[in-house]
Point group: none
Chain length 205, copies 2
DNA sequence: GCAAATTAATGATTTATTCAAG
DNA sequence: CTTGAATAAATCATTAATTTGC
């Protein structure tokens, strides 16, 4: 019997790899339905909840940005030094603001995460709607805002809602065989006991 | 050329992104010719030398492996704990199992960097020579040993040599438009079967 | 070798910012 | 100008990794 489980989600290597692969493939802010699917997939490899997925993408994106920003500022500092030192030798195309370069030089995403599109919304019009909308207007990096019609809301509120009312259509059970995901793991998933994450957040701010 | 205040190479964001993309695509230990190409390509985005590229891949590879190893050992330890807890299974030697799983878990490379395959040093005996020589000693971590025939290793020494004598055949001039970033990717690969999913370790509260 | 102490990484929360509708 | 939605940034908190003294 599992003793006191950890209070927070600890991704298995498989989960981590898949998440990273998705991130790499362009997934940044999955919407509710997508999170559900991802969660379902990943739950094959271990205990996981929707909010874990949500937070993971939030954090990963944020820290990625942070990293980039730091790089940039460092680089710009350097360039300034350069300029100060000798007025010539202008390094090309470097004087940019913080955010734009992110997109300008962004490397094209390699994969369109097809598994996210795997039909399972036939009889869930609103979900389908959500997905379709989001897909068309997906923005990755805060570079362009979605217009009002285009948002699948999630976040803290969404989490609560989803957690409370299982808004997941029955068709969204874990898909079994996806090209993207190896389905070969010893399907042990309930080693550690569960407990929902700290419901009592002692915020000592 | 501008005398830089900093003594070491500071990759521009673009350079970094490209390097990372290449790494992601499977490039690990580019040979002399490849390094030349890469350097030429990246020099468009800022000052860079061959050795920078060389060192970058060395470091990146090493740190990547380290990261993976840590994850795995962590996970395996966890599994061992479980086993011990549940069935008193004989304890494995962690050191033994350290290595092999690495490959098993490794996410398949998505892209074959075709541009790097452009035949280059078939008729560059001295380079080949060097390569052959260094190849045997340039062991990284012992995790992925290329078969003796294929890979070109080099090292610090090699760098100096190459930098001094342009031993790169004419075919290795900088390519202009490389298919660096294919927009397509293969699917995922097979996952390892050794790891079971499980959650976190029991904390000792 | 080991475990306490320290540090780094990262999951989870909270706060601030941005944009646009009203 | 105010407000709400969305989400980026900052922060808190816990876990893993490393270091250190024995």
């Amino acid at each position: 019997m599992p003793q006191v489980p950890s209070t927070r989600w600890c991704p298995t290597p498989e989960q981590l790899m898949i998440l990273e692969e998705m991130y790499r493939s362009g997934v940044r802010t999955p919407n509710a339905a997508q999170i559900q699917q991802i969660t379902a997939h990943l739950s094959y490899y271990g205990k996981i909840e929707g909010k874990n997925v949500f937070y993971w993408f939030q954090n990963h994106k944020a820290r990625d940005r942070q990293k980039l920003r730091r790089r940039l500022s460092r680089h710009q500092q350097m360039l300034q030094q350069h300029q100060m030192m000798n007025q010539q030798a202008p390094q090309l195309h470097q004087m940019e603001t913080f955010r734009s370069p992110l997109q300008q030089h962004q490397i094209p995403h390699q994969i369109t995460p097809q598994f996210l599109q795997q039909g399972c919304y036939q009889d869930a019009p609103e979900v389908m709607n959500l997905v379709g909308k989001l897909e068309t207007c997906g923005r990755d990096d805060g570079t362009e805002r979605p217009s009002a019609g285009c948002s699948a809301s999630y976040g803290y509120e969404w989490m609560m809602v989803t957690e409370a009312s299982s808004a997941v259509p029955p068709c969204c059970r874990p898909l079994k065989t996806l090209e993207l995901f190896p389905t070969q793991s010893t399907g042990l998933k309930e080693e550690c006991s569960t407990s929902k994450s700290s419901s009592c957040s002692t915020s000592t701010n």
